[in-house]
C-alpha cells in the first residue's frame, strides 16, 4: 500500500505552478498579437488625435498648429462667452431635435409598410433603402437643385400652387429646417434598413397568435411590434443622435454655416475655427466640448432608455 501512495520521482520534479504561469504568459502574448493591428491603428488614428486635441485645447497656437502660449482653461472660458459658439450650440441642439425624431418616425413607418408580404415588395425595400448608397456630397448637390430659389422644383411647385417662393437656404428662418429635411432624407436609408431587419427578426408566431386572439392591426403594432423592436429602435436612436451631432458634409455643401450663422453646427464651427481662422486651440476646446456632449447624451440615453428596452 505504501508504494502506491508515494508519488513517483519523475512527477515530483514538475513545478505545476510554474508550468501554469508559463502557459498563461504564452496565452497572453498570443492574444496581444491578435490585438496588435487594431491597437496600432486605433492608437495612430484615434487615441493619439484625442490626446493631442485635449492637449491643444489648453494652448494658443500659430498658423501651423504649433503651440505658443499655455492658457489653461481660457479657451473654454472664451468660447462659452462667445455668442457665435453659443449660437452654434443652440443650432446643433435644434438640428438634433429636428432630424432624430423625424428620421426615426418616417423610417419606422416605411419599415412597417415594407415589412408586409406583398408581391414586388422587394422593389420598395430597395427604393426605401437606396439613400444609403448615395454619398453626402451627391445628395447635397441634388438637394441644392431642389432648394434653388428660382429654378428649384420645390419653389416651382409652391408657385404653381399659388404660394410665395421660399428662400430655403437663404432665409434664416428656413435654412436650418431645410438642412434638416435633406439630412432626414439622407439618413432614411440606413435607419430604414436596420429597422426592417429588426422587424423581420420578430417571431411570426407572435402575430399569428395575436390574430387568433382577435387583435386589431394597431393593437398588434402597439403591443407587439414596438416593444419587440425596442432594442433595434434604441440602437438606431443612439446612432442617429451621434450622427446628428457630427453633421458636417451637407452644411459645408448647402449653406456653409450661413445665413447669419443659423446653420453653423458644432462640427462646422470647429472646422472654421481650425482651418479658416487657424485657431487650433479654441477649435480643440470646442471639439472636447462636443465629445463630452455626445458622451453625456449617450450615457443619459442608456440610463433612461434601457429601462424601456426589452432584450430577449
Amino acid at each position: 500500500m505504501k508504494e502506491a501512495v508515494m508519488i513517483p520521482e519523475q512527477y515530483k520534479q514538475i513545478d505545476f505552478m510554474k508550468v501554469k504561469k508559463k502557459q498563461k504568459r504564452v496565452r497572453f502574448i498570443k492574444g496581444m498579437l491578435f490585438l496588435l493591428p487594431s491597437i496600432l491603428l486605433f492608437s495612430v488614428f484615434l487615441f493619439y488625435p484625442m490626446a493631442r486635441t485635449l492637449y491643444l485645447s489648453f494652448f494658443l497656437t500659430d498658423n501651423s498648429g504649433a503651440t505658443t502660449v499655455f492658457v489653461g482653461l481660457d479657451n473654454f472660458k472664451n468660447i462659452f462667452t462667445s455668442p457665435i459658439f453659443l449660437k452654434s450650440l443652440q443650432s446643433t441642439f435644434l438640428f438634433v431635435l429636428y432630424t432624430v425624431p423625424g428620421t426615426i418616425i418616417i423610417s419606422l413607418f416605411l419599415a412597417v409598410i415594407a415589412n408586409e408580404k406583398l408581391t414586388g415588395i422587394g422593389f420598395f425595400r430597395m427604393i426605401f433603402s437606396s439613400t444609403m448608397g448615395i454619398s453626402v456630397a451627391a445628395a447635397s448637390v441634388f438637394w441644392m437643385f431642389l432648394f434653388h430659389p428660382t429654378m428649384g422644383w420645390l419653389n416651382q411647385f409652391l408657385e404653381a400652387l399659388g404660394f410665395e417662393a421660399i428662400g430655403w437656404l437663404t432665409n434664416p428662418e428656413w435654412a436650418l429646417l431645410s438642412v434638416s429635411i435633406s439630412t432626414i432624407w439622407m439618413n432614411l436609408g440606413f435607419t430604414f434598413l436596420i429597422l426592417l431587419g429588426g422587424l423581420q427578426s420578430i417571431d411570426s408566431h407572435l402575430y399569428e397568435s395575436a390574430e387568433i386572439d382577435g387583435a386589431s392591426y394597431f393593437y398588434k403594432l402597439r403591443r407587439i411590434t414596438v416593444p419587440m423592436l425596442s432594442p433595434t429602435l434604441f440602437f438606431v436612436i443612439t446612432v442617429s443622435f451621434i450622427n446628428a451631432f457630427q453633421t458636417f458634409g451637407q452644411i459645408d455643401m448647402l449653406t456653409r454655416g450661413g445665413p447669419q450663422n443659423e446653420t453653423n453646427l458644432l462640427v462646422y464651427s470647429i472646422y472654421q475655427e481650425a482651418f479658416k481662422n487657424y485657431q487650433y486651440g479654441t477649435a480643440s476646446a470646442q471639439a472636447v466640448i462636443l465629445f463630452f456632449i455626445i458622451l453625456l447624451m449617450t450615457l443619459l440615453q442608456f440610463k433612461l432608455g434601457e429601462r424601456k428596452v426589452h432584450y430577449q
Binding site: D203, I212, D213, G214, A215, Y219, P227
Partner: protein
C-alpha cells in the same frame, strides 16, 4: 364544443403541385383528434388552414356547421397553442394570458375571473408577475395552455406543443393536456410527428404522408390493422418488421432467408395470387421459443436491454428485424436463438400498392385479453 368538417380540402402554393390533396374528414365534438405524420407531410399546414392562418386552396371547411373558408382566424372561435408557445417575451405571465381578452375588450372583472380559473387549473398562480424568460420549459408550456383556456374557445388547435420539452416532462404534459381537454370538453386537434404521442393521446388518429390521408382510426386499429405499409412502419415502436416474401408451395419465403410454413392455405386467396408480397410482423410477435416449439433459429446481431424488456435484432436478408421480449434475457451478440414466429401474426401487404391484404388474425389476441 364544435364539430369540424373538411370536405375535399386541398392546398397548393403558387399554383404548384398540391401539398395537401383530397382531405375528407369529420372531427366530432369533444374529440381528441391527432394528426400525425413525418415532417413535410402537410399536417401543420392542415392545422393552420383550420386555424385560418393559411389560405384554403380548394374544398370546404366547416366549423360548428358553418362554412368558415372565408373567415379570419378571430371569427372562427378557436384557440391555438404553438410549438414555440409564441409567448410575448416583453409581457408578464399575467399579461400574456390576458393578451387575447384585452384585445377583444372583455370587461376587466370577467378577465380576472377567467385568469384566476385558468391559473388555478394550470398551477401558475405564483408565477403571474414573471416574464417568460424566467420560466422553465414546462412552465412556459403551461402559460401557453392557460392562454388557450382563458379564451374559452370550444375548439383548440395544438401544433406540436410538447416537442420542445425533455422526455420526462413530455410524458407528464401528455397526461395534463389530455386531462385538460376532457375536463373542459374541448374539441382538440393535435398535430405531432411523434407516433407515441399520437397513440397515447388520441381518441382518433389520422396518419398523413405526402399530403394524403393514409389512415384514420382509433389507436388500436391503426396498430393492429395498418391500412398500408407506411402506417405499418410509422405506427409502433419499435416499428413493424417488414420483408418481401414469395410463396413456394405451402411455404412463405421471406427475403430469400426465412421460411414460414403457411399450413393449409388455399391457393385461391388474394394473398397467394398477389405477385409482390410484403409481410409484416410486430416485434412482440417474434417470441422466444420457450413454451412453444421453435420455428426458426436466428443469429442475434444486437441486443438492447431496457430493464423491463429486451430488444433483440436479427438480420433477415437485407432487413433488420427486432424482437421485443418481456423481462431480462441474457443473450449475447452472435448467439443463435430459437424463436417462434406464428403465421397468424403476419400482416400481408401488396408491395406495389402498399395496401394491406390481410391483418393479423385478431382471435388469439382477444383470447389473451380474456385470460
Amino acid at each position: 364544443m364544435s364539430k369540424v368538417e373538411l370536405w375535399d380540402i386541398s392546398k397548393s402554393y403558387d399554383k404548384q403541385a398540391n401539398v395537401l390533396n383530397g382531405i375528407n374528414l369529420s372531427i366530432e365534438k369533444g374529440e381528441f383528434f391527432v394528426l400525425v405524420g413525418p415532417s413535410g407531410s402537410g399536417k401543420s399546414t392542415l392545422l393552420r388552414m383550420i386555424a385560418g392562418l393559411e389560405e384554403i386552396t380548394g374544398g370546404t371547411l366547416k366549423i360548428a356547421d358553418q362554412v368558415v373558408n372565408h373567415l379570419p382566424p378571430k371569427d372562427r372561435n378557436l384557440s391555438m397553442v404553438f410549438q414555440n408557445y409564441a409567448l410575448y417575451p416583453h409581457l408578464t405571465v399575467e399579461q400574456n394570458i390576458l393578451f387575447g381578452l384585452r384585445a377583444k375588450k372583455v370587461n376587466k372583472q370577467e378577465q380576472q375571473e377567467r385568469l384566476k380559473k385558468a391559473t388555478a387549473m394550470m398551477g401558475l398562480a405564483d408565477l403571474l408577475k414573471r416574464k417568460p424568460r424566467e420560466l422553465s420549459g414546462g412552465q412556459r408550456q403551461r402559460v401557453a395552455l392557460a392562454r388557450s383556456v382563458v379564451s374559452e374557445a370550444p375548439l383548440c388547435l395544438m401544433d406540436e406543443p410538447l416537442s420542445n420539452l425533455d422526455a420526462k416532462l413530455r410524458a407528464h404534459m401528455r397526461i395534463e393536456v389530455r386531462r385538460l381537454q376532457k375536463k373542459l370538453g374541448l374539441t382538440m386537434i393535435y398535430v405531432t410527428h411523434d407516433q407515441v404521442e399520437a397513440m397515447t393521446m388520441g381518441d382518433r388518429i389520422m396518419v398523413l404522408n405526402d399530403g394524403k390521408i393514409q389512415q384514420v382510426g382509433d389507436p388500436i386499429t391503426l396498430y393492429n390493422e395498418p391500412a398500408n405499409l407506411f402506417v405499418a412502419s410509422f405506427i409502433g415502436s419499435p416499428k413493424m418488421n417488414l420483408g418481401k416474401a414469395v410463396f413456394v408451395n405451402q411455404m412463405l419465403k421471406v427475403e430469400d432467408f426465412l421460411e414460414i410454413d403457411m399450413g393449409s392455405i388455399t391457393p385461391a386467396t388474394k394473398i397467394v395470387q398477389t405477385a409482390n408480397l410484403t409481410i409484416g410482423i410486430r416485434a412482440e410477435h417474434i417470441l422466444p421459443a420457450i413454451d412453444k416449439e421453435a420455428t426458426h433459429e436466428l443469429e442475434v446481431i444486437n441486443v438492447e436491454q431496457l430493464g423491463n424488456e429486451t430488444l433483440a435484432t436479427f438480420e433477415i436478408g437485407t432487413e433488420l428485424w427486432t424482437a421485443k421480449w418481456l423481462g431480462q434475457w441474457s443473450i449475447k451478440v452472435g448467439e443463435v436463438v430459437p424463436v417462434h414466429i406464428s403465421k397468424d401474426k403476419l400482416c400481408f401487404f401488396d408491395t406495389d400498392s402498399g395496401r394491406l391484404l390481410k391483418a393479423t388474425s385478431p382471435t388469439k389476441e382477444t383470447e389473451v385479453i380474456v385470460v
